[in-house]
Point group: D3
Chain length 153, copies 6
């Protein structure tokens, strides 16, 4: 696996889907403050054909979720977010208040045990260390199980 992230591109598949605009492309919101993990997550998801936006704090993530209605299709969040008061558990709850079906994937090392008491229903906890394929499969499973939503006309 190469460390250098690829440039993000609009997947040709999106273009093929009838010319939807960039804002209509599914993007995964990644909340992570560690740059090395950021780049690995980015590379894994980009290789799987996803696009991502990165927020380095819980506050920024919540702001993005609240203002960019419908832009994000899923959340991938670390638990401990160094700066700010919100942790990954908080961000996920906010995301679910906005959309009760929002796919949520947590990534954690020492906090993985708390998932049973602090996680939201129908979410997936990836206990570190995990393989990139687990992340891509987790996101795909949750998106494939969600009720499909027609793109706005």
């Amino acid at each position: 696996m190469e460390l250098k992230p690829r440039p993000r591109v609009v997947s040709p598949l999106h273009l093929a889907a009838g010319g939807h605009e960039v804002d209509n492309v599914p993007v995964i919101l990644v909340v992570e403050d560690d740059q090395l993990v950021q780049s690995i997550v980015e590379e894994s998801l980009t290789e799987g054909g996803f696009e991502i936006s990165i927020a380095s704090t819980g506050e920024k993530a919540v702001a993005l979720l609240e203002t960019s209605e419908g832009k994000y299709r899923a959340l991938v969040t670390d638990i401990n977010l160094g700066q700010g008061n919100l942790d990954g558990w908080d961000v996920a709850r906010h995301a679910r208040e906005i959309d009760p079906n929002f796919p949520v994937v947590y990534m954690s090392g020492k906090d993985a045990d708390d998932w049973a008491s602090k996680g939201v229903p129908n979410s997936i906890m990836l206990a570190k260390p995990f393989a990139p394929a687990q992340l891509v499969t987790a996101i795909s499973q949750l998106l494939n199980a969600s009720p499909p939503i027609a793109p706005p006309s």
Copy 2:
């Protein structure tokens, strides 16, 4: 359906299972402050062969969970618990901190929508009004899916 709850009895099935003592019998902890709902829940679960203990506040429920290790096999909780500071969401989180696999069923009317953001993973929300069979099936499904635990020798 009769309204008058039956007396609680040790099910013959328990006796048949090799003479385990009363403390080893599976009991459902029900957290509910409304007496009418209490009696209906009690009747439904008793008819299904379960035994129940009732706590009328979240504080009492948490105290029971913390002191009666292994006595309770599942939690059925209302969300709004008039007296005390803990609501049903809190009780469920405490239960999962003690046992990450603890089966949890919520009952609610107006708060059912909050399940996606406030509920614990692998729980079931019964939106009121619901039929008694839904409660019995919910508890049975969760117990049947839990990894079996050998009774202490």
Copy 3:
């Protein structure tokens, strides 16, 4: 099991849920033209605490679904409905056009094999002969898995 169906009553549980009106009570729509099966289905579901409305043709079922928005919480339908042009497959598709999450249970003898090609997603086929408990469990499983909907204020 007695053959004589009990009178339909508003379950006390519904009253307990804060005084919701009759129209707000969950009712199962049963589509069946055979009187004997009607009475057995009615008795099974009533014993489980459900209320039911019976339609004897697909046309009547569709009319009920279209005019009684939100009244019905699930559909139980036979496949072959002697009178009229609509069969159980058609009724289920109509129900799902109105509400994509509507719980659907089919009952059939010789047509059970067609479920894989003619049924709707996330439905259950009960192949006759089946036990009453299978019907009650099927309805309960589907209702318990549905996203909860807050009762209108």
Copy 4:
């Protein structure tokens, strides 16, 4: 709960299903050598509308499965079967060799922990003590998930 088992009757629902013969009625094969548990299991399943046949040894159960093709729709088996050489794990494997989709429910006290290594896929282990409703739900869940089979014409 009364201890005295009801007489076994052909459920009216079966008759209603177009007059299928007795051999075509779904029957649950119960393998249990303890008479008290036998009668409780029998009462629970009969109340749920199932019919049952009881075998008191693994050998008898396997003989019934091999000679009564298609008669049984599910297996409920204890693990320790005092007489004979076959235990419940063996009986389940035989049942699955005959029909790979055969629903299997185990009942056990001290052997419940072995389910993860000795059970067959897609089976349910009921760890004693369990409530009768758990047994009825377990059988119903497995039957409802099985691909429907059209009755022989």
Copy 5:
């Protein structure tokens, strides 16, 4: 992601499986009339190790399914197929009439909302735009959940 599809090759894994012939290799039938989407789907599945056959109309797809018994292991179909009278919903129903367990994945933009009423049970709808990893995961999930079938001797 490169746009140019790779040449289709028999995967070495297939050879390793004891020298099965080409006809015994699992192939995904893709029904799509848009060349750009065709090539993206082909590339995604080929990268995942699948082989594919492409049909550009529903009629051709049905003809392939009917004549090539056992050759195809899953169906990936667009909904709107410009030429011909059959759409993706029709093709999936035909596939399920031939094999009730046949894995089905739909791809659609504006018709994704119809999945709940027009899709077949146990299928997956990929709402456009979707990532290639979602398609590969969807096919893999469905194949992994299907009952295994021994290769013909």
Copy 6:
């Protein structure tokens, strides 16, 4: 797909997870005696970001599982293991005796039909021929569904 396996490396993601040591990295135990299949499985899993250890006999696999507590996170096993007395079914049962939640994936050609009677619960059978993506998805699904375990401090 290239046949030449990549060198095994500690994934950067592991390093990023707070500097856990090599022994703490998740490794998949692969039991396979055919060198060609070995290399394909290795390449597929390595590409997905997993690390693997290979055992060529059931005896060696069991020895590794018993002595390397917590090192392996999942088992991928062929059924027929030429040398030695243990087959893949045996290895999986041993793995589950040590850890009842251990993820198990079987790979087989002619023995795939035996999965329903000889496999362990919650395992996946990949019937040969299968695509590499099916293997990666199978392992990821099982790992993602397992209860997370905090790394030892």
